[in-house]
C-alpha cells in the first residue's frame, strides 16, 4: 500500500519532526536505574509516535531516529552517540521499539478506521508495545550481563536472591522498568487521544493518501481538503 507516491510532504514533515521528538525526549532529565539502563521519556515518545502516525510513518520515524543516532548524534539515552550504543546492555530495548512502533501504529490505524480513537482503545494499543519491547530488550540485557533469561542456575533456592548471583534476566530486565513504562504508556495514550481530538484526520489522511494511488482522481479533491483543514 505504501508506495512512495503516497508519501506526501506532510508525511515527510511528520516523520522527521517525530523522529526529532523521540531524540529530544532523551535529552530531558532522567534517572539511571540498576544495571545502567536509563529511564527516560523515550518509550513515551515512541508510543505517542506510533499512536499518532500509524504503522508506516511510525516505523520510518523510529528508524530515522536510530539512523541519525548511529551516524553520531548524541541522541540515544544518556547522551550515547553512534555505535557505542551496541556496547550498552540496553540496546535491545531500542531494537524492540523499532519493532513495536509499526505494530502499535497498525492497531491505532485499525481503531481509526472504526472511528474509535478515544483514550481506552488507544491505551490498549499502547500496552501492546511493552511485551514487544521487553521481548527484544531482556535477552540482549541478559546476554550482556551473563545471566540466564528464564532459568535460574541449579544451586539457587529463591528468585531474586541477589547476593548469591541467583537472578534471571527477566527479573533484572523487567521488574525495575515495568512501573515506569506502564506510567509512560498511560500518559502516551492520554496525549495521543488529545492530539487526535485536536487534529482529526491525521490517521485518516494517511489512509486516503495511501489509497489515493488506486483512485487518484476521485480522492484528489478530498485529499486537498483534508490537507487544508489539517
Amino acid at each position: 500500500m505504501f508506495q512512495h507516491r503516497g508519501f506526501t510532504a506532510q508525511s515527510i514533515a511528520l516523520v522527521a519532526v517525530f523522529a526529532g521528538l523521540i531524540a529530544a525526549s532523551t535529552l530531558t532529565p532522567e534517572i539511571t536505574l540498576a544495571a545502567g539502563v536509563p529511564l527516560s521519556l523515550q518509550t513515551f515518545a515512541v508510543v505517542v509516535t506510533a499512536l499518532v502516525l500509524g504503522p508506516w510513518r511510525a516505523l520510518a520515524a523510529t528508524a530515522l531516529y536510530i539512523a541519525v543516532g548511529l551516524a553520531g548524534a548524541p541522541i540515544f539515552s544518556n547522551g550515547v552517540a553512534g555505535f557505542a550504543i551496541f556496547a550498552r546492555p540496553s540496546w535491545g530495548y531500542l531494537l524492540g521499539m523499532l519493532v513495536a512502533a509499526p505494530v502499535v501504529g497498525l492497531i491505532a490505524q485499525l481503531l481509526a478506521r472504526r472511528g474509535s480513537l478515544t483514550y481506552v482503545p488507544l491505551l490498549g494499543a499502547g500496552l501492546v508495545s511493552i511485551p514487544i519491547i521487553y521481548a527484544f530488550g531482556v535477552p540482549v540485557l541478559a546476554s550482556k550481563l551473563g545471566l540466564n533469561v528464564f532459568t535460574l542456575p541449579a544451586d539457587c533456592e529463591g528468585v531474586g536472591d541477589f547476593a548469591s548471583g541467583c537472578v534471571t534476566g527477566i527479573t533484572v530486565g523487567t521488574v525495575p522498568f515495568l512501573p515506569g513504562d506502564l506510567l509512560k504508556v498511560f500518559l502516551a495514550a492520554l496525549v495521543a487521544a488529545a492530539i487526535h481530538r485536536a487534529y482529526p484526520g491525521l490517521l485518516g489522511a494517511a489512509r486516503r493518501a495511501a489509497s489515493g494511488s488506486v483512485h487518484a482522481d476521485e480522492d484528489a479533491p478530498e485529499d486537498e481538503a483534508a490537507r487544508a483543514t489539517a
Partner: protein, 275 residues
C-alpha cells in the same frame, strides 16, 4: 544547551583516514569475534588493542572518559556477579567484551564525521529506493536534525509554562501541550514543503504527465506550421498496429507500400521538370 556534535573531532590519524565502510566492517567483525571467542587471554588482548585504537584517534578527553566510565562500571558489576558464582573465566570474558566493543565503537564515532556515516547509511538503504527515494531520505535526515532543537525548545517552554501555572507536578500539563504543538509544527512544515514542491518526486511522477501531454499537444499547434500535424498524428496509430501484426501481414503491407511508392513518386517527378 543541546549539542549535536557528538564526540567526533576532525583529525588526520589512521582511523580518520580509513573509509567509513571499513570502520563499520571492523566494528561488526570485532563484535562477532567477541561473541565467538571465550578464551580469556585472547579477550584481554582484543580489549587492549581496542583501547589503544581508541587512544590513537585522539578523542576529546572528557566525553570519552564519561562514556567509558559507565561501561567500566557495568563491566565491574558483571564481573562481581560472575565472581560470586565462582566463574572467573566467564567474568573476564564478559568484561573484556563489553570494554573492547565500547572502546572500538567510540573510536569509530570519534573518527567518522556525521555526514560520512549518513552517506554510508543512505547507501545501505539503497534497496529501499522503490519505497523511499534517496532524495527523500536526505530531506528527512536534515529535517530531523533541524527539528531536534525545535522539539526540545517546545518541551522546555511547555515545562516553564506549567511551572508558571503551578502545575509543575502534573505531567499532563507538560506533555499534552508539547506534543500537540509538535504536531502543529510538523503540519506547518509539511505545508511549507508542499508549497515549495520539495520532496514530492514520487507524487509528481504519477500526476504531472497528463497536463504535460496536453501542453505538448497544444504548444506545437501554436508554434509550428500545420504540416507537422500530419506525422505526429499518424505515428501513434501506425506503430502499435505494426507491432501487433504477423510477419506475413507486415510483408504484404511492405510490398503494397513499395508498389504505391513506385507508382506515386512518378507523377511528381514528371511534374517537376514541367513546373
Amino acid at each position: 544547551m543541546i549539542t549535536l556534535l557528538g564526540i567526533y573531532r576532525p583529525g588526520r590519524t589512521p582511523m580518520h583516514l580509513a573509509p567509513a565502510w571499513f570502520k563499520m566492517l571492523l566494528l561488526v567483525g570485532m563484535s562477532i569475534a567477541c561473541l565467538v571467542i571465550s578464551d580469556p587471554v585472547t579477550s584481554v588482548g582484543i580489549t587492549a588493542a581496542c583501547v589503544l585504537l581508541l587512544a590513537s584517534t585522539q578523542p576529546p578527553l572528557k566525553a570519552t572518559v564519561k562514556g567509558m566510565a559507565v561501561i567500566v562500571l557495568i563491566a565491574c558489576l558483571t564481573t562481581v556477579f560472575q565472581l560470586l558464582r565462582g566463574d572467573y573465566v566467564r567474568a573476564l570474558d564478559l568484561a573484556g567484551d563489553l570494554i573492547s566493543i565500547a572502546a572500538l565503537a567510540l573510536a569509530v564515532s570519534s573518527s567518522t564525521s556525521m555526514s560520512d556515516m549518513l552517506e554510508l547509511i543512505t547507501t545501505l538503504a539503497r534497496p529501499l529506493r522503490w519505497i523511499l527515494p534517496p532524495e527523500t531520505i536526505g530531506v528527512m535526515v536534515s529535517l530531523t536534525l533541524r527539528s531536534i532543537p525545535e522539539a526540545a525548545r517546545i518541551i522546555t517552554e511547555a515545562r516553564v509554562a506549567a511551572r508558571a501555572r503551578g502545575l509543575d507536578r502534573d505531567m499532563r500539563a507538560v506533555l499534552i501541550p508539547s506534543a500537540s504543538r509538535t504536531v502543529g509544527f510538523a503540519l506547518q512544515l509539511g505545508q511549507a514543503l508542499h508549497a515549495r514542491g520539495i520532496a514530492e518526486h514520487g507524487r509528481s511522477k504519477y500526476q504531472v504527465p497528463e497536463p504535460r501531454e496536453q501542453e505538448e499537444a497544444s504548444a506545437p499547434l501554436l508554434a509550428a506550421p500545420p504540416v507537422r500535424e500530419v506525422p505526429s498524428g499518424e505515428t501513434p496509430t501506425v506503430t502499435p498496429a505494426g507491432t501487433r501484426r504477423s510477419r506475413r501481414e507486415r510483408r504484404e503491407q511492405r510490398e503494397r507500400e513499395a508498389q504505391q511508392a513506385q507508382e506515386a513518386p512518378q507523377p511528381p517527378l514528371e511534374d517537376d521538370p514541367t513546373a
